[in-house]
Symmetry: C2
Amino acid sequence: MMGTAMTVPLRDNGHEVRLVGTPLDEGIIAEVKRTGIHPTLRRSVPDGVQPYPVEQLQQALANTDLLIAGVSSFGVEWFSDTVLPLLAETPLPVLAVTKGLAGQEDGTVLPFPHLWHRRQPAGGESSFQAIGGPCTSYELADRRHSAVVFCGDDQERLDFLRSLLETSYYHISISTDVIGVESAVALKNAYAVGITMTVGLLQREEGIGCREAYNPQAAIFGQCMREISELVTLFGGLEHSIAYGVSDLYVTVYGGRTRKLGILLGRGLSYADAKSELDGVTLESVAICTAAASALRRLAEAGEACLDRFPLLLHIDEVINRGQPVNIPWKRFVRRDLQQAERHRGCSPRPQT
Amino acid sequence: MMGTAMTVPLRDNGHEVRLVGTPLDEGIIAEVKRTGIHPTLRRSVPDGVQPYPVEQLQQALANTDLLIAGVSSFGVEWFSDTVLPLLAETPLPVLAVTKGLAGQEDGTVLPFPHLWHRRQPAGGESSFQAIGGPCTSYELADRRHSAVVFCGDDQERLDFLRSLLETSYYHISISTDVIGVESAVALKNAYAVGITMTVGLLQREEGIGCREAYNPQAAIFGQCMREISELVTLFGGLEHSIAYGVSDLYVTVYGGRTRKLGILLGRGLSYADAKSELDGVTLESVAICTAAASALRRLAEAGEACLDRFPLLLHIDEVINRGQPVNIPWKRFVRRDLQQAERHRGCSPRPQT
């Protein structure tokens, strides 16, 4: 869906665009060929976009300037195995819409651009960039104003990619803080479960259809910000990159499957039962929660992280992966901030007491 | 309303509570006396709370441990003139629910606890603290989980205040970063106008009742975070205090008069016309936008701030105070983040390129 939505700014900028389905997208590509409409995005594919089935991937790659990878985190391995070898002889810049982090055996996490860099065949010269920030595919396809960030290691290449895709409604920042941006935008999926759990908890108390309460959601939102900020720096990113993830959290909470999962868990369903209600599909939010909590526990074992700083992530992980009931540890979010700010020249003087 | 909501945790903790109206609250106090219900909060006042008209303020203050100031920022002067003199002989800790910043003639801003400290009669020994964080009065009165922060200069006093008010649902952090907390929670009111302007802009295009779009709201939300973060440090606060304001922004956007103002401006109404639609009342959001933009411009004139870093606040200010039409400067929000993070021991290695 996001891959198809990306064809909108591409075509608006006059590029030739080829839309290739994965092996899971045969029906979608057939439908696009037949009707011009993407059946789950429920939008017309822009005029001039040429749909290709996966068997014609190699033809589709001929004479291209850019490959946009539209797979979810569950398609990362398929992309590594199937697409990367095809790039060995004709290296391309790759721009991924994928959000997630790959948990490594040593407990560290790897953003997908770095994973693909490692996975490309020896001597491969493709470069790997990713898109972060709050942007739903539906609204991009509708040309709503959307602010995203392209992250990668090479500033000039990022500028080039921006020049291909920027439009009057698609606003592109660039960042070389790949681990920071990718951690922040991946983590928001895990943390959105925590916020929406409070919606389900209230429904359990007052019945489905009750009026929503925002104080509890906002309380968790603040805790999410603090934990995302600490995790991003713990994973090696820059603190200011969290804005891309936190603004994305703002959107994710409003709807979609992650919201449903949080609500079901809050109502009291076990993760197994909630997953069944969601057609048995493992969500991105579950994958990133598991990877991040696992990395965090390993870092703590190595004395490099303090688990007490992450009560919310660990609670979500215990509910999802250890069968614990939802019981939000509110009092563990309480803080004592006793630092004093340096007095800045522009600030008001502190009273003399 | 918030003053009355605060009686709920106070009474749950068994305190004797006296509820005093301001001169604007005569009708409310009479109604509480007659029916036990606060007419605009639309909730029963807890059993045992004793309502007092403003004429009996002095009696109400006799033998008390704490004064909670429930005035809005427009009542700060009244509080200074009327209440502070009464505290001259019997000093009390004061805890204010008021959100805002007082613009000073020299262009700096002053949080209300510091303003009141200056304003108390010579030799006065009352102390001034304030409450920040995302907490609507309705939901506090309903005993929803709410996370707030008490800020002040004295840690032990903050711990004492927390001990009086903490309950199973009212979660209290403490912070000595008064200017940081107060700036963040005040600024969110100004910035909420920016987010909700996008709702009105869409309605102007597609008609009132159209489906909301979240990409534009989230794009502005990210910019709000960045500008609030820079303003808080510019005003002399600590960056991590922004979480109290940003989580509050999350709530403010959902409803209330600030949301209405943003929507009306987005639809194309002038500020004067929007204000008329809102019964001619000046909102907190307008007051803080005006104070912050004015402080910012003075700091810039003195070479201590760069206006280019705050395109959103300045645009909101131009719409409200300079009669400009809404025309969100999207491209001025685009960033080039080219810093590299220090590699932390716990992070994934960057690829060798």
